[in-house]
Subunit: 140 residues, 3 copies
């Protein structure tokens, strides 16, 4: 049994879902492990990880619209607004999703379903630099 | 340290929570590992995994009712409706929960609490065939 | 590759976020593993785990207020009220967050970001004794 730890950086362009499947796959390939477990951890409190449909881009638009309605920017309920009207909503959206994700590896690849992709979900309106730690444990 | 990878199939009967604890436990038992970590990954974007109360079935009904109100089928907000009024709500419900779950193993069994069961939550109105990958790593 | 399994107990004082980062860190330190993966699992259905901002305490208040509005205590929708008006809301809040969390370990420490802390979120109004299982796998 072996393990490999790597760090990926992403520069987002503001709120929205960024497909990071390819970059994560490269970490798995680089580890040379054929069977195992990959765990992703995002080191932030206003962006999250999501596994969602990779086909129709309207799904991503609808997800964005739903979360914008559920957690409105500038909601009078929120008192923490140090970084603006989207500050606290970004924290809530992160709490409603997750900053970590574990996916088994089989035949040297993530066992994602045919319609699944891994997204980094930026919840702030401005772009940010985001750091993702990828841990892979398993056997060659 | 050893690992075991298996795949379970479930045929759901439409929206609702299906207790899959027994089937997952069988994978752990089959691995013969006494101490370790079990990770479940559901290969879909309109069904999810949930750890919830296994006692009063009304809890599951209430969860269903809450999510039906929070993410209404046929909501005018949604533009993605290729597969009907419950298509996009199923994606949102999956985003609000999760497709993966990691549970430590102790004495050859999952360390679930007395009131916890593992559920596969089907979010589509029609039944579907769902595939779950189970990874167990640890020692005998 | 080695693994270490431990159990932590916490006595909460009612609804709210309890910073458990220090206690989890101690488990990682006690394992003596320098590189690996830590997985936390909470054995309950009315409390959850959350990674959130550790700086401004108003963030935690706002999270609490948002969830109290999203899932109101005593909501007429809920039929399961065996343990009072906050019983079913506690289950829903747990479903919307998560009872498990996996974080890679690097240089003998969790790879948390500068602003991240690990919280145990008690969702019941009364304090409870909560049990957390911590699994660490990796190398010295």
């Amino acid at each position: 049994m072996e393990q490999h730890l790597s760090t990926l950086s992403f520069t987002t362009r503001g709120r929205g879902l960024v497909d990071i499947t390819g970059r994560v796959r490269e970490c798995v390939t680089a580890s040379a492990l054929r069977t195992g477990l990959a765990t992703l951890f995002l080191r932030h409190t206003s962006a999250s990880l999501l596994v969602q449909e990779n086909a129709d881009p309207v799904v991503r638009d609808d997800l964005e619209r739903f979360f914008a309605r559920l957690v409105p920017d500038g909601d009078a309920l929120f008192r923490h607004r140090d970084e603006g009207a989207d500050d606290m909503p970004a924290h809530v959206r992160t709490a409603l999703t997750s900053v970590q994700l574990a996916i088994p590896v089989r035949d040297g690849d993530l066992v994602l379903g045919a319609w699944q992709a891994i997204y980094l979900w930026e919840h702030r309106r401005q772009g940010h630099r985001r750091e993702l730690v990828v841990h892979v444990v398993g056997e060659r």
